[in-house]
């Protein structure tokens, strides 16, 4: 049948590359409440990232500063005056520690998530595509890691890597590696499941028929199709990474206050203050954790909803609605009332 020049699903030409970036394309697709959630998440996350980047400019004092030209800081001072959010029992400025803490948090996220993505994706691809005994062993190991409470693994790793105490770099890598180990199974599982699914797709079989090598099939055909869900897991894991880091710090495996600021550690030190009515040492680091995690989770959940066409809200057909009669009727009703 000649169906010439019929608008077959000839989709609009590809949008410029920057419009196709994960978060930006999602923003363009969103409407209504979903857009509100995404924007709230983006604002919180943006504030977090900016705070981390601009910490040296924003923070009134250093994270381990105990005195300035006027002498030593007072201890446990209520918010106000020179110390907007007060000081801790050791005399640290709470505002400065909260701001510097963002920097530590973001470093840990980058280290942990980057390492676990690389390792998880490679292992997932190989395990899913090759299959057989290699696959079985890797899956069992991943399951075994799942069985450990993540904090326990993190504590063990912290002890192994740095003896439990450390400098900024050592502490970040200890926390980062600990979190990496916990997250690898997640990336591994997701990529492996996608690989197993894609392996049976006709386009992979057609590459096989053509004579493509396994490495070529994995890198060219499967990898690019299997990694679409990664931005989502990334945002969700980033928030979990912060919680794990805070947990580690709270338990005392964090970073020494003299090497870096760390919210979990500050919360731990604030524990004793609560009974004596000193609320500011605990509230602000706690708020920082809550808001950062909330922001990242909102972004992640919005992306999740927007990726699924069934969950994604759409602009109503608006003016071109095929119910002109109904709109007219409603309009007259409105006028009459």
């Amino acid at each position: 049948m000649s169906i010439p020049a019929v608008p077959v699903p000839m989709e609009s030409p590809r949008a410029p590359w920057y419009r196709r970036l994960p978060v930006i394309s999602h923003f363009n697709k969103s409407v209504g409440l979903q857009r509100g959630m995404l924007v709230a998440g983006l604002v919180l996350t943006g504030a977090f990232v900016l705070t981390a980047l601009l910490a040296p400019l924003l923070a009134p004092y250093g994270f381990s500063q105990l005195s300035d030209d006027d002498g030593s800081f007072p201890t446990q001072q209520a918010p106000g005056g020179k110390h907007l959010l007060g000081t801790t029992v050791s005399g640290y400025d709470v505002l400065s520690r909260v701001i510097w803490g963002a920097q530590t948090a973001i470093l840990v996220i980058v280290v942990a998530v980057a390492m676990s993505i690389v390792v998880g994706v490679v292992l997932g691809l190989v395990s899913g595509y090759i299959g057989g005994w290699l696959d079985r062993i890797l899956v069992v190991i991943a399951d075994a890691v799942y069985a450990f409470p993540s904090l326990l693994v993190a504590i063990v790793m912290a002890i192994v890597i740095s003896g439990g105490q450390s400098s900024l770099v050592g502490g970040i890598f200890a926390a980062g590696t600990a979190i990496t180990l916990v997250f690898i199974p997640q990336y591994f599982r997701v990529i492996r499941a996608e690989t197993v699914r894609l392996k049976a797709e006709p386009f992979v079989e057609s590459a096989k028929v053509v004579g493509a090598s396994n490495i070529r099939i994995m890198s060219r055909h499967i990898y690019r199709n299997a990694t679409r869900t990664l931005p989502l897991i990334f945002t969700l894991n980033a928030s979990e990474a912060i919680l794990t880091l805070a947990g580690l710090g709270f338990l005392g495996f964090g970073i020494e206050p003299s090497s870096a600021a760390e919210w979990g550690f500050d919360l731990n030190k604030a524990l004793a203050d609560t009974t004596s009515g000193i609320w500011w040492t605990g509230l602000f680091p706690g708020m920082a954790i809550v808001l950062t995690v909330l922001g990242l989770t909102l972004v992640g959940e919005s992306i999740n909803d927007l990726n699924d066409p069934r969950l994604r809200g759409r602009k109503s057909t608006g003016g071109s609605s095929p119910a002109p009669v109904d709109t007219a009727a409603i309009a007259t009703e409105v006028r009459a009332s």
Binding site: M1, V209, G211
Partner: protein, 576 residues
């Protein structure tokens, strides 16, 4: 088929008679619009039609014509992103404007639906009896105020199963869906639709997922329902043979509009509209346009033999404790240079397994299969790889056989890049030539697969298979995912290219008419065995094996008069 007259019928069929000549379904200026990422899509633009009591109305059209959306509107099953206007009146109630509660009452009692895929329409964790009774109990409480006991609901489910010809319904009412075959599952779905004796059944492609021999039985059943109970049926289909077999009146849809509406015989005999004429001309008709017309002996026998199967057996290992499943059982055939071998069979006959084994995608487990002189038993990928450049493969679904992340040009070039390592300029030139030979503009090389239509993608798929000038091409159902009009064009192109490049071709299909157009030598597979092979026109005209006879007789042809005759023959063959 035996159909018992159900005393419960009497209560309901009275309603219909009171209404006299009023249509069971009246659709008036229906429009449906979907909100999508790319703006509103008008799926149904302006459709008006009516269905009278005891009438089978077929809505035919190609994909995207809006026929399924129209059917779903009748039951109020549109997704949230759709908005509709106009009127769909069933027994005096407008489905579009009634409340959700009223709509629930209408569904099942006044109108019921039969879905395309019976395996997914039934819930695997409940017995079929429970699923049929579900509808009965959901309605009984609301209407008469008294609840229907579980026992009564079950006895009515048994009645419904008996009506659709399930043997031993008292016993099988407690079976789970997976204990039935595909055709029986579709009968159960129809039984569930019939449970409340609705005046109207909407059947959306009710036989598309079924084999032709089973399809014939289901069509027989639907015809029986109309004749014995006066049920009206809205039949949604793309298969012109099914329309010719069952429909009283036909509505042809194209891009959301009704193109033509006429009684079935008139439509097939003298279509008025251009579109309908083209659509009918594109439908392959068994016995017309045969590739082997006038042949008396097998052609190409003096050429090299490229594929030789000798007692080829392929088994899939069973689960613990169950024996291995023999997908292919002692099959022997040869395929010579330049020949087109058509392999026909229903689902599960092993035809795809044979094709995949020749391409090295499946392992053979017994007998011998020589491909280009290479013994495929104990295949080693490393030694077989050099031969792969001589084998092209065209997959069934053109949408899935292209990597969505690569351009068409990159996909077509892949075999060259792997085997001959050409320069980018050579690649561009060759891709342009290939696209031209499958009648696509060279500029399509820069497009992504989703930017092409189904037929264009299948041409590109053919171009990829041909990129290294293979001596052997395996085409596994290359046109079954396409609309008839597109299929006709692709088949024509396929035929031309085969004659031009003179490759040997194994053409696998479930559609006898399609195979007959392309291949001179045809093999018929049944449950893994090659029951018959011979010259295409001889097999179609004078089948020898019982199964082949049944297969050919159950294929509906797009011509109501001829189909009525064939139906009688088919009945005689089955001894009804």
């Amino acid at each position: 088929m035996t159909v018992n007259i159900d005393p419960l019928d009497a209560g309901h069929s009275g309603d219909g008679e009171l209404d006299g000549g009023r249509p069971v379904l009246d659709i008036d200026h229906l429009q449906v619009t979907f909100a999508t990422d790319g703006g509103p899509v008008h799926a149904v633009k302006d459709v008006s039609l009516e269905v009278r009591k005891g009438e089978v109305l077929a809505i035919v059209g190609e994909s995207g014509s809006g026929k399924t959306v129209t059917a779903k509107t009748i039951l109020g099953l549109l997704p949230e992103t759709a908005s509709s206007s106009g009127a769909v009146v069933i027994n005096g109630a407008d489905v579009i404007s009634v409340s959700a509660a009223r709509l629930r009452q209408i569904r099942g009692r006044d109108v019921a639906m039969v879905f395309q895929e019976p395996s997914t329409a039934l819930n695997p964790v409940f017995t079929v009896g429970w699923q049929i009774a579900e509808g009965i109990r959901a309605h009984a409480g609301r209407e008469s105020g008294k609840r229907v006991s579980a026992k009564e609901a079950k006895s009515r489910a048994i009645e419904a199963l008996r009506k659709v010809g399930i043997p031993d319904p008292e016993h099988r009412v407690n079976y789970y869906p997976q204990q039935f075959s595909g055709g029986q599952k579709q009968r159960v779905v129809i039984a569930a639709a019939l449970a409340l004796n609705p005046g109207l059944i909407v059947a959306d492609e009710p036989t598309t997922a079924l084999d032709v021999t089973v399809q014939a039985e289901i069509l027989e059943l639907l015809r029986d329902l109309r004749d014995k109970y006066g049920t009206s049926i809205v039949l949604i289909t793309h298969n012109m043979g099914v329309v010719a077999d069952l429909a009283d009146r036909v509505v042809v849809m194209y891009q959301g509009d009704v193109v033509e509406e006429a009684p079935a015989r008139t439509l097939f005999a003298e279509p008025r509209q251009d579109y309908t004429r083209k659509l009918l001309a594109a439908v392959p008709h068994l016995g017309h346009n045969s590739a082997s017309e006038g042949l008396t002996s097998r052609a190409h026998q003096d050429e090299d033999v490229l594929v030789e199967a000798n007692n080829l057996t392929i088994e899939y290992p069973g689960r613990l404790g169950t024996p291995a499943f023999k997908a292919v059982d002692r099959v022997s055939f040869t395929l010579s240079r330049g020949e087109v071998f058509g392999l026909v069979g229903e689902s599960g006959s092993g035809k795809t397994t044979i094709g995949r084994a020749i391409a090295g995608l499946n392992r053979t487990t017994g007998g011998s299969l020589k491909v280009l002189g290479y013994e495929m038993l104990n295949l080693r990928e490393r030694t077989f790889k050099p031969l792969r450049k001589d084998i092209g493969f065209v997959f069934q679904d053109p949408a899935a056989s292209f990597n969505p992340q690569l351009t068409i040009g990159e996909c077509i070039a892949e075999p060259m890049v792997i085997h001959t390592r050409p320069s980018p300029a050579q690649v561009r030139k060759r891709v342009g030539e290939l696209l031209e030979s499958v009648q696509l503009p060279a500029s399509y090389a820069a497009r992504y697969p989703h930017e092409l239509s189904g037929g264009q993608r299948q041409r590109a798929s053919l171009a990829r298979a041909l990129s290294l000038n293979p001596r052997l091409l395996i085409a596994d159902e290359p046109t079954s995912a396409l609309d008839v009009s597109v299929q006709a064009k692709v088949l024509e192109l396929f035929k031309d290219i085969q004659q031009e490049f003179e490759f040997a071709c194994l053409f696998i299909s479930h559609d006898l008419a399609v195979v007959d157009i392309l291949s001179s030598w045809v093999g018929v597979l049944y449950k893994g065995r090659l029951v018959e092979q011979g010259i295409g026109s001889h097999i179609m005209g004078n089948p020898q094996h019982d199964y082949t006879k049944r297969l050919i007789a159950s294929l509906p042809v797009p011509d109501p008069e001829e189909q009525a005759r064939r139906r009688e023959q088919h009945r005689a063959l089955l001894g009804i």
